[in-house]
């Protein structure tokens, strides 16, 4: 496995984890860490999904602490 394959695999795993956590956060997590997001619309949740995928380690940490 060369360096390029390692980088590509790392990116794939990171984004894959992000997608799983992001989707879960989309449903329940956002309202848990921020009460103002509890009754927010689907549009709002879709809007924060890319950020949740990219920043999933921070999102997960905040969710666990909430």
């Amino acid at each position: 496995m060369n360096l390029l394959d390692i980088v590509l695999s790392t990116i794939t795993v990171y984004l894959g984890m992000g997608t799983l956590i992001g989707i879960a956060f989309f449903g329940k997590g956002a309202g848990r860490i921020d009460p103002a997001a509890e009754a927010a619309s689907v549009g709002f949740r879709v809007l924060i999904l890319p950020g949740s995928i990219m920043l999933w380690p921070i999102v997960l940490m905040k969710w666990i602490r909430a």
Binding site: L8, D34, A36, S41, F44, P50, G51, M54, L55
Partner: protein
């Protein structure tokens, strides 16, 4: 403002702004494509895909320069605040244009998904043997993607303003990468030198504006009121120096700046720093009885520094009184949201118009 998040916080002003922005982009792209076809007729014609890549790329660079110019310009002249107020929409629109540019590049050069785009970019670009300028553009796009996807107030509130601001300062790293992407791209592709000249002019403008804004800020700070520490009340200005429903920003010693607002024959003193993104409240005005931040329209009641219900933002207030027609302030900040009775002053008597003198 924090209450319940909405997808986009549109109002009439922002809708008008967005309409002008989108119309401008459509007009630019149309003109670029039309001129490209007229100026390069067959047999030297440029394919529509290449023209579109260049149109979107140049459009994105113009938008990026506008975004980077707005901040320092607003420090130099408050007339720019109207654009600053909506810079976030400008930023997200810029990202969409940049992403479209990258998507067409990937589709056109990468055989519409035949080649993994990340693999192609990391292994040296789409043209073997040439300078891999695509890699710089890819890195910049990643930073812009992070910024665009965290532009909503939800992220500002949950990442904390400090972290959010730091993350969004990444625009300067991304800008440097974009400059490298364009310069190396021009060298690699031998396209018109005019792109190099324009991007250099743009970079010089951005640096000069930031330096000028810095000089303006330093000059303002030098005008701060220096007084002995054992005094509690400081004479900061005359009532008549403050325009109605506006503020005068003062700084006592090296403390935080204070915005002294005049509204309905009273004056109130609050922190000059907005709780949202540290916007300069003193450059805003009183609208519907609320001090309104010029950056994103966050509002505070001047008498207590709290956002009107149901919003919950709070900023520090300052004790204030009037002597004669002079405004005196205690520079020790009260806890954010502390009510302070506004100081009342008598309005100047209206001077009746002069009678014409008969000859």
């Amino acid at each position: 403002m924090t209450n319940e998040y909405r997808v986009v916080q549109w109002n009439a002003h922002k809708k008008r702004y967005d309409l002008i922005l989108i119309s401008g982009i459509v007009l630019y792209l149309t003109l670029f494509l039309a001129l490209g076809k007229v100026l390069f007729p067959p047999p030297a014609e440029i394919s529509i895909e290449i023209l579109l890549i260049r149109a979107l790329g140049t459009c994105a660079i113009i938008l990026l320069h506008l975004i980077l110019m707005v901040g320092p310009l607003a420090r130099i002249t408050p007339k720019i605040n109207a654009i600053l107020y909506n810079r976030r929409h400008l930023g997200v629109t810029f990202f969409i244009v940049s992403a479209l540019h990258a998507t067409i590049v990937i589709a056109y050069y990468g055989g519409f998904g035949v080649e993994n785009p990340i693999s192609a970019v990391l292994s040296g670009g789409y043209r073997s043997g040439s300078i891999p300028f695509e890699f710089l553009g890819f890195l910049a796009l990643l930073i812009f993607a992070l910024m665009a996807s965290t532009s909503h107030d939800f992220w500002l509130a949950n990442l904390s303003p400090g972290v959010w601001k730091l993350m969004h300062m990444g625009v300067y790293i991304a800008y440097t990468l974009v400059i490298g992407h364009v310069v190396l791209g021009v060298i690699a592709s031998e396209i018109n030198i005019i792109y190099l000249v324009l991007v250099t002019l743009g970079a010089v403008t951005i640096v000069s504006l930031h330096l000028s804004a810095g000089v303006c800020e330093i000059r303002r700070d030098h005008r701060m009121i220096s007084v002995a520490q054992d005094t509690h009340w400081f004479d900061v200005c005359g009532v008549d120096e403050i325009p109605p429903d506006r503020a005068k920003v003062v700084q006592i010693n090296t403390d935080e700046r204070i915005a002294v607002f005049k509204h309905n024959d009273t004056v109130s003193a609050i922190s000059n720093v907005c709780a949202h993104q540290n916007g300069p409240l003193g450059e805003g005005k009183v609208i519907d009885g609320c001090v309104t931040c010029p950056w994103h329209g966050y509002q505070y009641l001047p008498e207590c520094g709290q956002s009107p219900p149901p919003f919950t933002e709070k900023i520090p207030t300052y004790d204030i009184r009037i002597e004669g027609r002079r405004v005196l302030i205690n520079p020790r900040p009260n806890e954010p949201g502390t009510a302070v009775k506004p100081a009342h002053f008598d309005p100047l008597p209206e001077i009746p118009p002069l009678e014409p003198i008969d000859a």
